[in-house]
Every structure is written in C-alpha cells, then in structure tokens.
Amino acid sequence: MAGSETPRPETSVGRRTVPLSATVEDARRLFGSDWATVVARAFRWMVFARSFDARMQGLQRQGRIGFYGAATGQEAVNVAVGLLSRPEDWIAPGLREQLVALVRGHPVSSYVDHLFANARDPALGRNMPCHPTARDVHYLSMSSVIGTQITHAVGLGYALRLRRDPGVVFAFFGDGATSANDFHAGLNFAGVWGVPVVFCLTNNQWAISQPVERQSATATLAEKAAAYGIAGRRVDGTDFFAVAEALRAAIGLAREQKLPSLLEFVVYRMTPHSTSDDPTRYQPPEFLAAAAAHDPLERLGDWMRANGLAKAAEVETVRADCDSEIRRAIESAEAVPPPDPESLFRDVRSPLPKERSRSQEVS
C-alpha cells in the first residue's frame, strides 16, 4: 500500500545553503554538554517532518486524506519549541505546528488517525486535517479562523499566573495574522497584564497569495511589539541555533518574570499554502531559490557535517527510519473505520440533564 508510491522530497544535492554561524561552543552553551544528542534529535525530527509533509501531500493528491497544510521550511522553529518547552507548558497552535505536538510526545499514530479522520481520531473526525487536538501534550484545539488562538493564549497565561503554576504558553501564528483582531487585542492585553506568553510569529512571507510587504507597511513584524510595550525580536527562523537562542531568552522572560514577548521567525514557505493552493499564480520563481538557500534542514545538516556530526546527519539513513514509522502509522490508520455516526451529536454540550423535549420522550 505504501512504500514505492511515497513521493520523495526534492533532493538538494549540490545546492548551496547559507551557512549557520553558530560554533560548537554556541551549541554547548545552548544545549549543555549533551549538545550533540540534542542537535541529532533536532535533525531527526526535521527529516521526519520533511518526509511526513511529502508523504501526506501525496496522500492528499491520491484522495486518501482530504487536505494538508505542509510546514516545509519552518521545521527549525517547530522542533526548537518542541525541544525547549517543558511538559507543563502549553501550545496554542496555528495551521502548521503539529510537529510541536509530536516532538512534545503526542503519538505520530494518533496524529495520522486525525489526518484520516477515523474513529480513533481523538476529535472524532470533526475537523479538517491538520487541525488536531492533543490534550496529552497541552496542545489546544485550533480553528481555521486566523489569530483567535492569540487571545486564548493570553487568557491561559493569565490563568497560569493566577494559579501560581509554572507553565509558559507558546502562541503560534503567521504573518497574515498580525492584521487580525486577536493579534491586536491579545498583545495589548498581554502587555497590560504581564503574562508568561511567547508569541511565536512564523513569518513565512506569504498569507496564501499576499506577500508580507502588502500585509503591513512596517519593515519588520517584530517591531509591532513596541506598540504594546512588550519585547520583540526578529530571528532567522531557518537557523536552528538562532531560533533556540531567541527562544531561551523569551522563555526566560516568561518563566522568571511572567512577561510576554514577540518573536518573529522569518522563514520561507517552501510549499503551497495548502493542497488547495497554487503558488505559481502569484509567487516569483526567485522566491524558491532563496528558500532553498535557507532550507533549515539542509543548513543544519551542513553544519553537522562541518562540526563532527556527519554520521547523525546522514539523511538517507535517518529518512529510512522515519519513513517506516510513517508507513506503519498510515497502514494502521487507514484500516480504522470512520467515526460512529452517532458521534455527530456528542460534545455539542456537556453530558448533563437533557432538555425536556418531546422528541426525546418519544424516541
């Protein structure tokens, strides 16, 4: 069923990437004496994500899943948040942060069940693919409405602070969401209240077809933080070490001082917005060339090869391992039937006293 039909991710042999400037010392400072293991794990997750995205886009084309929104190009951000966050932290995701849930320990098989909207999907197949709920890893349920999770994250952060609980909330959204109501309300409330929230703005330079410079007249999106009296910083979101360093500072601010900050991770959307989108209609071809030079996976792989981690950076070996995990999850998920029709009526409201309705008396 799987295997041979797996579309391969584009090969990047011979492509030049912008080298990462971190030194081994930087890596040690960021991740401790265990830095090599952490970097290898990060690389493995990036390869996994790349394979997963490619595979799922293929399944969508075959009509086996209904929709898919790839996160290709922004893996460094998702992996870094997954690795640097703690179990007590919370994730308020947008469309492209499922990898954060997986790195935090949500089973791959469960996410694939969701993509197939089968009876094992924790949310009973109610949502479009890529809208999973993973309470086991404090990953909120997302809607397709842009930005609404930003205020949720701020309220959640307020609740954590009020209860004197230690967690930090990571709120994810894209460049387009900076124009949304909830961005404004959320960052404003966060500034006034002082809450442990890290606003992770993944600027992939496109809101479907709208380039970021048509989204806002500012030079950067990070500078919007000043309008709310909170810290803001623009980061190269395809540089795993730069991302990790910025996150460390923001997490520290949130954990120690209960203060919010805005991190703008500049990345390149290397795939269409979703399987329903055709970027050749609007994207200049140069964009993909620039994107290739900033491929976070290649950049990290090159760095590892240059810094004595060549074995862990063997893409084919790692990929083979990831592919088999993905294949097993797909085989298993596809064999599960769709959700019970009766489930359509569950969870509309709490299972408490029923309405005094005639139809219920009769039926």
Binding site: L20, S179, G229, R233, Q257
Partner: protein, 380 residues
C-alpha cells in the same frame, strides 16, 4: 494588575540575520512635511476662541437640560475644546470627518447651526436624523460630517475606505477619524491603521487621549509609553501634541493634512487632553478619578488659556471677552428655544429608511401602526 516594567532592551544582543532581510521587504518610509505650518492664522484667532466659548456653553446648557429631563442624554466635551477647534480649523471644508460621539467642536466649525444640533438632541421634527439616534450621535452629509455610532472605533476603517475612494476619484482631500484613548484597543483601530499604512491612505487619525475610557485610566489601556507610537507598528508616523494648546493642534493637523493630500500617507495624532466632565450624563467620575487630578488639569483649561493669550496678543480685551460670552449665551438660549418649540417627530417615520424602498412587511406594519395610533386618539 499592571505588570512590572518590561525590559525592552533584552534583545540588545545582535540577532543572527544571515541574509535574512528579504529584498522584497522595504523599510518603512516616513516623510516629514517640508516645513512646519504656523498656528491658527491671525485672521481666525478670535473666531477660534468664539467657537471654543460656544462649545463650552452648549455643554453647560445641555448638562442642565439633561438633569431637567428635557434631553435624554448628553456627552460633554469640556476640556477638549482646543483640540477640537484647532483641528477643525486646520481642515478644509471638503475633508470628510468621521466623528465619534464627542465631536461638537468639529460640528460647530463645520457650520452646523446650533438649532440643528438641538433638534437632534431632542429628536424632534426638525431633526435630520428623524429622532433615531441618541443625542450627540449626529451627522450631516452636506457638511461632510459622517453620522456617528456608539460602538467605538468602527469609524476608523470607514475613514480609511473613504480616503481611498477619494484618491481613486482624484479628489485632493483628507479623511479624518476621531476617537479616544480607549479606542486604540479596538479591532477597527488595528485594522484601520494597518490598511492605511499598506495602502498609504490620505487619512488622519485624530486620537483625543482624554486619559480616561469611562473608568479605565490610560495606563491600564495599553502598556506602550504613548499612543502615538502605535503608528510605528503600521509603518507611519505618530505625533504627540499638547491638546490643550490650540496652535500645536492646528500645526499638527495642518501638517498631517498636507502629507495626506500630497500622497505621503496617513498620520496618527495623539492630542493629550483631559475630560473635565463625566464620560456622559450616565457616568459619575467621582467613583474612579483620583483626588486632585481634575484640579491639576483645570489649571490648563484650554478656553481660559487661549483667552489670556489673545489678550496678551492684543486681539481681545476683557470687555470684548465679556461681550463675546454674553452674545454666545444669547445665541445658545435662542437656538434652544426655537428647537424646543418644534413638534415631535412623525410617529410613523421610524419605519422609513430601513431599505431604499420599504418591504411589503414594513408597509403592512405602517398601516397597522397608523390604525393603532388613530384608535388611541379615538378616531375611527
């Protein structure tokens, strides 16, 4: 509730932006007006003062009328006269005003007769709005003064849209949106300023920061140091002006207008003022205002301040001033008397203007209601 100080400089360490700034991202272009215009011109200074006095007297009168139950509600502007009159004089008659509900000064300068305003406050047969809105929520198409609503901020996006429309039509005008400090938190502030930045709309955002959004002090509204700096988040310039000083306001608005009409985009002006009175006649500021704050600000009373300035400039004598107040008082009294003597609004008129043409259902409603009213009056 307010958090501790936010260290804005924690990001001092340079970010590694290896080739990061995409060539497609251009820096914000903010251009300053070529030369700063002067304050309110000589020929209009006494006129400006007269408008301020008139606004002050309308306030005084309406607060009394509301207490007497002769009008239902009132929103005073006391303390904001210089900001409003200075702004109004800096605009051209063709500029479109998108007011909130406190912009009496703008309406006066635009030439809306006192009687017309009073008709609206009463909601009588002379009211252009046919008694449909609360007092202060007026609008006069012939004055390019758009009708106000109560939800805060909705006029901001509308002003941007009108500005873009004017540009498309080739009209060299500015549009101007009025709002307060609280409105900077609203959805439409964000959307409106962002659109204005992206499309370089010929729009002026005139924020009268009167320090209180009903009971919420400015410091709890947002954590930014000023409201004007929020403009930077949208890629254009914001300026803070002393809203108690009419010349400063005039200059800032004049400059913003020049920029708008020249195609150089929008400006956010934060006029720092103080609301001397309550938010509205339904509000009691004694519940929330710290003792002494009002008194402190009253030392900067814009009306008294400008009078002293005019006397110093030799444009006004104490006697002139007394006469001016007296004449203005008479004008207010006479306009009120005329307005109050008018019959009430046609009772069936509230069924009009829902659509361009009434629906069949509304026509039925009109017939039924007419019959009911006739029955009440004992007619067959």
């Amino acid at each position: 509730m307010v958090a501790g100080s936010h260290p804005k400089d924690i990001w001092a360490t340079a970010t590694r932006a290896d080739g990061m700034t995409s060539a497609r991202v251009r820096p914000a272009t903010v251009e300053r007006g070529a030369r700063a215009p002067a304050g309110v011109p000589d020929a209009r200074r006494v006129e400006a003062y007269r408008w301020m006095v008139l606004a002050r007297l309308v306030d005084e009168r309406c607060l009394t009328l509301q207490r007497q139950g002769r009008i239902g509600f009132y929103v005073p502007l006391e303390g904001q006269e210089a900001a409003q009159i200075g702004c109004a004089l800096a605009l051209e008659a063709a500029d479109w005003i998108f007011p909130a509900y406190r912009e009496l000064g703008l309406a006066l300068v635009r030439g809306v007769p006192l009687e017309t305003l009073f008709d609206q406050f009463i909601g009588n047969s002379g009211d252009v709005l046919k008694g449909r809105q609360m007092p202060n929520h007026y609008g006069y198409r012939d004055r390019n003064f758009v009708v106000a609503s109560s939800p805060v901020g909705t006029q901001i996006t509308q002003a941007v849209g009108a500005g873009l429309a004017a540009r498309r039509r080739g009209d060299a005008i500015a549009t101007i949106a009025f709002f307060g400090d609280g409105t900077t938190s609203s959805n439409d502030f964000h959307a409106g300023l962002n659109f204005a930045g992206v499309f370089r709309a010929p729009t002026i955002f005139f924020c009268q920061n009167n320090q209180w959004a009903i009971s919420l002090p400015r410091a709890q509204q947002t954590h930014s140091a000023t409201l004007a700096e929020k403009a930077r988040a949208y890629g254009f310039e914001g300026v803070v002006v002393d809203g108690m000083a009419i010349d400063e306001v005039y200059r800032a608005v004049r400059q913003a207008r020049e920029r708008a009409v020249a195609g150089d985009g929008p400006t956010l002006i934060e006029a720092q003022v103080y609301r001397f009175g309550p938010h509205s006649t339904s509000d009691d500021p004694k519940r929330y205002r710290p003792a002494g704050e009002l008194e402190k600000w009253k030392q900067h009373d814009p009306v008294a301040g400008f009078r002293d300035e005019l006397i110093r400039e030799g444009r006004l004598t104490v006697q002139d001033d007394e006469k001016l107040w007296e004449a203005a008082r008479a004008e207010v009294a006479s306009a009120w008397k005329t307005a109050e003597s008018k019959p009430p609004v046609d009772p069936l008129s509230f069924l009009d203007d829902v659509f361009a043409q009434p629906t069949r259902e509304l026509e039925d409603d009109r017939r039924r209601l007419a019959a009911l009213l006739a029955q009440r009056e004992g007619k067959p």
